[in-house]
Amino acid sequence: MNQQQAPAEDMRKRGRANLTWVLLVMTFLAVIAAPTMIVLFFGLLPAMVAYIIDRTPHKSAAITVGSINFIGVFPYVMQLWFDINDVSAAMDIVKDLFALLVMYSAAAFGWLLFLALPTVISSFVVVMHQRKVAQLRGQQKDLIDEWGAEVSQLVEMRRMERQGEHMSHGMSVSD
């Protein structure tokens, strides 16, 4: 039990350290580029939510939503940079419902994309895997035809070893 607790504890510590760094960088950016940070903060709220609710290690949902969300936010950031770049201009943008609609619609599209596309891609992946397995099995069959069943000795040995390990592990647990 203690062994299982240790990695979780490590991750928690690492997460706290990361958060500290993020807060430091954000504070620094807020000081030197406050208008941009205001637009980004309000514009990328869906992305942040997606990041928080996405519990997968790869954060695919957050990346997808964030990427598309950023497309919606980026024109307003550009507007800020090319026109008046102060806090009131930034506040004007975030108060503009149309602007918010554009930003959040982009995020919503990102969500839609994330919900729809992986299923389609996974179907392709499954089919490709099946083809690959069939091809490998064919190769193995050719090898057996040419060299006999003893060509699978290594595999059988490993399987036996695994079984042995499993058995001994089971026995040690029961001990």
Binding site: T56, H58, K59, S60, A61, I63, T64, V65, S67, I68, F70, I71, F74, P75, M78, Q79, F82, G110, L113, F114, L117, P118, T119, V120, I121, S122, S123, V125, V126, H129, K132, V133, L136, R137, Q139, Q140, L143, I144, D145, E146, W147, G148, E150, V151, S152, Q153, L154, V155, R158
Partner: protein, 737 residues
């Protein structure tokens, strides 16, 4: 036909056990009143007694099986060495030997030549070495051997050895007397009998040949006028085998017939002395006694005394007879002494040494013994009582107190102690204890163990006959295992230089018996000790393989008649080849003996291929086909199916060439095998890699859908990221314009 074969195979070897047909008609007379009880248990004798019409002379003659006349349509004549015709329809009973049947023979190149053929018993080892010597050089005074060779003899349904002799036209010496008593006077004896026969023995001695079959009924006249006296054949059975034991010196007469050994010229002279005595007296003075009683008389009184004590021997013949019949081999007249006597010169008379008598007799087996040698004789017949007598100290006490031989008594005591200490172990069994005690009591006598008795130089022939009779090496094997022959040598009171080589041979053979591989063991000992013994492999029953050069041809010959699933190799064939093939075949024998079927098969092929290559033998179509059909397991040692198919396709062509080296090269090509192994290892690795890949895709612990979905999600994220970067770039470009 089968009956004839049975008769042939059984007549000679089991002579000790089975009464000869016809022996019952004239058996040896019953034992005397005071005969030992044990004598009654003696095996029935297989000898007839020679007699005139009115009186039985008591001279033993071995039974000669009457050869049958076979229908020439069923049994056509046999051609020996492509020259001599032997006719199964024309038996010659008068010329038969105890172990070989005589048939008329004809020389195709000289049709008028007077010949006869002896068809040897296939169940007995013959003396081909002596045959070669006799064929190479004619010996005066010995029946001329014209030729010999092995051929198939249809009446026996067996391949037999044929020996072609010139026909003795005057018949046997014993038949020359007709109705007259079988007796010659002292002058005739010296001139007509002893002189020619002594010269024959001398000439044989020069050629290092011992006759060992000199007996009254084996002396012939070569001419019709009966002037040329010759010794009969001596090659159709082991040395001394056909001899009634009365003709044998004590140390050999005590052994079983097949174990009497090659012997020495002195043994021939002893037999000549007995013949001379019989002819001089006209009868056998010990004819009333059984074999055992005769041996006891010889032991207790000495041969000369036993025979001549109550006879009138002419003065002139006392010394030669005493000299020839001396029981001490070193004291017995050598050839030179006899030749001196024949030439009229006198030799210093042998000093008579009285036989030492014990203070009291030793009772055993219903007989009161006066000599340790008779005790040994009786011990051999009653092992249980003998062991008891040794263990309870009775024998030791008698030897110490009555015989006064403390050294022998100590030996017996230590044997008894050893048996008690190691009780239960095979080395201390009653049989071994008694055998060793016998060797101490009668060191000059034969080795006697479980009814098997032989002299050291007779062990080989005895072993061969024992195997031919019982198809078992049980007793000879035990003799080797217990090192009884080594004990026999160590029991000798006086060192004998002749025994040094034999002892060394036995030590080497004993080491061979311990190797449990083909080509070694007791079969190897059998062939090492019997240079003229044909290979006794069951596979080669129908052929006669005497030389290793004939082995491949013989296997080729039998290839069509044997079960094709059997291998052309067994313990006998391997031992025969190992004994006579003069090249190092140790690795081949190791492979032949391997427990793995395929390795053993390749070993067999490699050995036979080596022989064909070395001997430059003609193509062996039958043998190649036989082995080719067995090569399945050997081909299967290759992993690649393609290679196997290729080999299988190539075999028929090599079989048609009759080439064993070709087959071996095909099956055990080093380069091909290395390539096969390397490629097989690669294939195994490829297979394992494929399996690993499959397991990562569809392994038991893999959730395929989840994995695919994760991949989809990742791909979606990548797409979104890419789109975002492109869109950002476009926006940046548009707005900056």
């Amino acid at each position: 036909m089968a009956k004839a074969q049975e008769q042939a195979v059984e007549t000679a070897p089991p002579r000790q056990d089975s009464p000869a047909p016809g022996a019952a008609a004239a058996p040896v007379s019953a034992p005397k009143k005071d005969a030992p009880e044990a004598a009654e248990d003696a095996p029935e004798t297989e000898f007839l007694t020679l007699g005139g019409k009115e009186h039985d002379t008591g001279i033993p003659i071995p039974v000669r099986p009457a050869p049958a006349a076979f229908d020439p349509d069923d049994h056509p004549p046999v051609t020996v060495n492509e020259r001599y015709m032997v006719y199964p329809s024309q038996p010659l009973h008068d010329l038969s030997s105890p172990s070989a049947q005589a048939y008329a023979a004809e020389d195709k190149r000289e049709p008028g030549r007077q010949l006869y053929a002896l068809v040897c018993n296939p169940g007995l080892p013959v003396r081909t070495g002596v045959m070669q010597d006799m064929k190479r050089k004619a010996i005066n005074g010995l029946i001329p051997l014209v030729d010999f060779g092995s051929e198939y003899w249809s009446p026996f349904d067996h391949t037999c050895m044929f020996v072609i002799f010139e026909r003795p036209l005057g018949g046997r010496l014993t038949e020359a007397f007709g109705d007259k008593p079988l007796k010659v006077n002292e002058y005739e004896l010296a001139k007509v009998i002893l002189e020619p026969l002594a010269h024959a023995i001398a000439e044989m001695a020069t050629a290092d040949i011992q006759h060992r079959a000199i007996r009254l009924d084996n002396i012939f006249f070569m001419d019709r006028e009966r002037h040329i006296l010759v010794l009969g054949e001596c090659v159709t059975s082991p040395p001394g085998f056909d001899q009634p034991s009365i003709y044998e010196p004590l140390e050999r007469g005590l052994a079983m017939a097949c174990g009497r050994g090659k012997g020495e010229t002195r043994d021939d002279l002893y037999a000549l002395g007995i013949c001379a005595l019989f002819l001089l007296l006209g009868y056998n003075p010990l004819g009333e006694l059984s074999d055992e009683q005769m041996l006891i008389a010889k032991i207790e009184q000495g041969t000369y005394q036993a025979f001549c004590a109550n006879e009138r021997i002419p003065m002139a013949l006392i010394e030669p007879l005493r000299g020839l019949m001396s029981d001490d081999p070193l004291e017995r007249w050598p050839m030179e002494a006899l030749e001196l006597w024949i030439s009229g010169q006198k030799k210093t008379p042998i000093q008579r040494r009285p036989i030492a008598k014990p203070k009291s007799t030793y009772g055993f087996g219903g007989y009161k013994h006066k000599s340790p040698r008779t005790i040994a004789l009786f011990f051999a017949k009653n092992v249980n009582d003998a062991a008891r007598a040794v263990k309870n100290g009775k024998l030791e006490h008698w030897v110490r107190q009555s015989l006064g031989d403390t050294h022998l008594a100590d030996d017996i005591n230590s044997l008894a102690l050893h048996a008690k200490v190691h009780e239960g172990s095979p080395d201390a069994s009653d049989e071994v204890l008694v055998a060793k005690t016998i060797m101490r009591l009668d060191p000059e006598g034969p080795l006697r163990y479980k009814g098997f008795s032989c002299t050291p130089d007779g062990f080989g022939a005895a072993m061969a006959v024992e195997y031919m009779r019982k198809e078992s090496f049980q007793i000879p094997g035990e003799i080797f295992a217990r090192d009884l022959m080594g004990y026999w040598f160590s029991s000798q009171r006086e060192p004998n230089k002749d025994y040094i080589i034999i002892e060394k041979t036995f030590q080497n053979l004993r080491a061979l018996t311990k190797i449990n591989e083909m080509g070694y063991g007791l079969e190897r000992c059998l062939y090492e000790l019997n240079p003229s013994l044909p290979c006794l492999s069951p596979l080669l029953r129908s052929v006669y393989v005497e030389y290793v050069e004939e082995m491949l041809e013989a296997l080729d010959q039998v290839a069509d008649s044997v079960d094709s699933r059997t291998r052309p190799m067994d313990k006998h064939i391997a031992a025969f080849i190992a004994t006579y093939f003069r090249h190092d075949i140790t690795p081949h024998l190791k492979a032949v003996s391997d427990a793995k079927d395929e390795v053993s098969l390749i070993g067999t092929l490699s050995l036979l291929a080596l022989m064909q290559w070395r001997q430059q033998t003609e193509p062996l179509l039958g043998l190649a086909s036989w082995i080719g059909g067995l090569l399945g397991p050997a081909i299967n040692t290759y992993h690649s199916r393609k290679t196997r198919r290729s080999l299988e396709e190539k075999i028929p062509a090599l079989v048609r060439q009759g080439s064993l080296p070709g087959l071996f090269d095909l099956i055990d090509n080093g380069e091909r095998r290395m390539l096969d192994n390397t490629e097989f290892d690669d294939a195994r690795i490829k297979f394992a890699q494929a399996e690993d890949e499959i397991q990562t895709l569809i392994g038991d612990d893999v959730d395929q859908e989840k994995q695919a979905l994760q991949k989809g999600e990742k791909a979606t994220a990548m797409i979104a990221l890419t789109v975002s970067m492109v869109a950002t770039s476009v926006i940046l470009t548009v707005m900056s314009m």
